[in-house]
């Protein structure tokens, strides 16, 4: 992310954790209905929004549902009558919503949800990894992964901009690290006057349940038309890429912060690139500084846009680098390559003009910290193994007894 002092809107510096940054963004987006159920580490979002509504800071209905399943169901209902809606969850809550994720996108409703990512049961574990988010990657939700509280705030606004665009009309997830970010306070800028957000988020007409123009939403579709309707979603997801880039431009213009689908740090002249996502990207940048001082030509990449997957951005950011090391924060059990992002990266380079040596690492599962030293170790290991690394599948970093020689 590139930050500029100059922007259209006057902004104030506040100290928030990422959960609260989410709540402030939902407030500034002037949402009409929030339905959510408490789950660690997301709970702060619901608490803060409840507080804002109780204090009259946000004019919205808060539905204190009895489950995440009902949370998503309720905002689907609310969105179907035209409301701007929001929910938040983590881990098991996201899993409990699963069938409705597909229904929401299939109905083309512009819902926005934040996910404070967390490991999945069993064994039960409240700490961070991205197994929950990666499990919902095929549900047709636009997915942004943020690395700072500032990016969380901006991404929620951007998610509404993209989801509600008539060319898209798909729901969005903004994900960030549970605990590492959800509970860590960082300084960020938010507009002093919320009206600037209303300006970039106008209310737009779409199909809604209206007695004056009665429509049927959620019909039974047989083989004669089902595929065409799902294909519309395929096209909308592709179209979303262009709309996201337009939204990036608007965010830059109004709020002064420039985002890209693949963020980079010291990447231009790098021989070695390490790609990760979420809060670990901040640690990775420090590790890059350390390795650079030791003479390694290494740089960092961050996957900000997960769905739709930004193939061309990735290729241009990788350029001529010789080594590309993907550090995933989730496990796709039984896959040929168990790192979900690594699989996408490999597919992106298939039969391309230039293809770096790619290796796949998995780290930080179940809240295990990923330090600068870990990144340094990962780079060292990847360089040592070279092409052999990928033949072993994904390398599970730091697991006691797991060896890759």
């Amino acid at each position: 992310m590139e930050s500029m002092l100059e922007s259209r809107a006057r902004q104030v510096r506040v100290l928030l954790n990422s959960n609260y940054a989410v709540a402030y963004a939902a407030r500034d987006a002037d949402v009409d209905v929030v339905a959510a159920y408490p789950i660690t580490p997301q709970t702060g979002v619901v608490e803060k929004l409840s507080e804002m509504i109780a204090n009259g800071e946000l004019d919205a209905e808060m539905i204190h549902v009895e489950s995440e399943h009902s949370a998503l169901s309720a905002i689907i209902g609310a969105s179907a009558v035209g409301a701007r809606v929001f929910t938040a969850t983590s881990s098991q809550g996201l899993e409990f919503m699963h069938e409705l994720l597909h229904i929401a996108s299939g109905m083309r409703l512009p819902l926005v949800m934040s996910v404070a990512t967390r490991a999945l049961s069993a064994p039960i574990n409240i700490w961070n990894d991205y197994s929950d988010l990666m499990n919902v990657r095929d549900s047709s939700w636009i997915t942004l992964i943020a690395s700072t509280a500032q990016e969380v705030y901006d991404s929620i606004i951007e998610a509404f901009m993209v989801s509600e665009d008539p060319r898209v009309l798909l729901p969005s997830i903004v994900a960030y690290d549970g605990f590492w970010m959800s509970h860590t306070y960082e300084p960020l800028y938010i507009p002093e006057d919320r009206r600037v957000v209303s300006k970039i988020l106008p209310r737009r007409p779409r199909y809604v349940l209206d007695p004056d123009n009665p429509i049927t939403i959620g019909s039974l579709v047989n083989p004669d038309w089902y595929y065409e309707i799902k294909y519309q979603q395929v096209e909308a997801m592709k179209e979303a890429y262009r709309v996201i880039r337009e939204a990036d431009t608007k965010i830059k213009y109004y709020l002064g912060r420039a985002y890209e689908p693949i963020e980079s740090y010291m990447a231009e002249d790098s021989e070695i690139l390490v790609l990760t996502y979420g809060g670990a990207y901040e640690t990775l940048q420090s590790a890059v500084d350390m390795m650079r001082s030791e003479g390694l030509r290494v740089g960092a990449l961050k996957l900000r846009l997960w769905r739709p997957f930004p193939v061309e951005d990735l290729k241009s950011k990788v350029g001529d680098a010789e080594n590309l090391i993907v550090v995933d924060r989730a496990i796709s059990y039984g896959a040929s390559i168990e790192g979900p992002a690594a699989l996408e990266v490999i597919a992106a380079f298939y039969k391309g003009k230039s293809c770096p040596t790619i290796s796949s690492f998995i780290a930080g599962i179940g809240g295990r910290p990923v330090s600068e030293e870990d990144f340094k170790g990962i780079v060292k290991k990847a360089l040592k193994l070279g092409d052999k690394a990928l033949k072993m599948g994904s390398i599970h970093w730091g697991v006691r007894g797991a060896s890759y020689e």
């Binding site: 299939g106 109905m107 083309r108 409703l109 009309l169 199909y207 009665p214 429509i215 049927t216 939403i217 959620g218 019909s219 579709v221 038309w225 065409e228 309707i229 294909y231 519309q232 096209e235 909308a236």
Partner: protein
């Protein structure tokens, strides 16, 4: 029509367009109202599952000279022939006739 022309998300924008589906061919027995016997009590209209008994503002004079201002007509395009109307008619004014093609 391709995926581009249809509304998104499987939404149906034409309310009540199921009338285009003629379910009358489901019928084995056809209910026929004897307008002479019919007392316009509306019980058949009230119970009909498919709403195919239609109240028409058409006057009818019975053979005994009684004048009705309404006539009940059956929409045979959609009547499925369940015979609830015939079963519930308190004056047995609805007869079931076998469908012949």
């Amino acid at each position: 029509m391709s995926w581009k022309e249809i509304p998104i998300g499987g939404i149906i924008v034409e309310a009540g367009n199921s009338v285009k589906r003629k379910t009358g061919d489901w019928r084995v027995f056809k209910p026929v109202i004897d307008q002479d016997k019919c007392t316009r009590c509306l019980i058949c209209w009230m119970y009909c599952p498919d709403g195919v008994i239609e109240i028409r503002d058409i006057s009818y004079k019975t053979s005994t000279g009684r004048l009705w201002t309404t006539t009940l007509e059956i929409n045979y395009d959609h009547c499925k022939g369940c015979a609830i109307c015939a079963e519930e008619c308190p004056v047995n004014a609805i007869e079931l006739v076998e469908e012949v093609k």
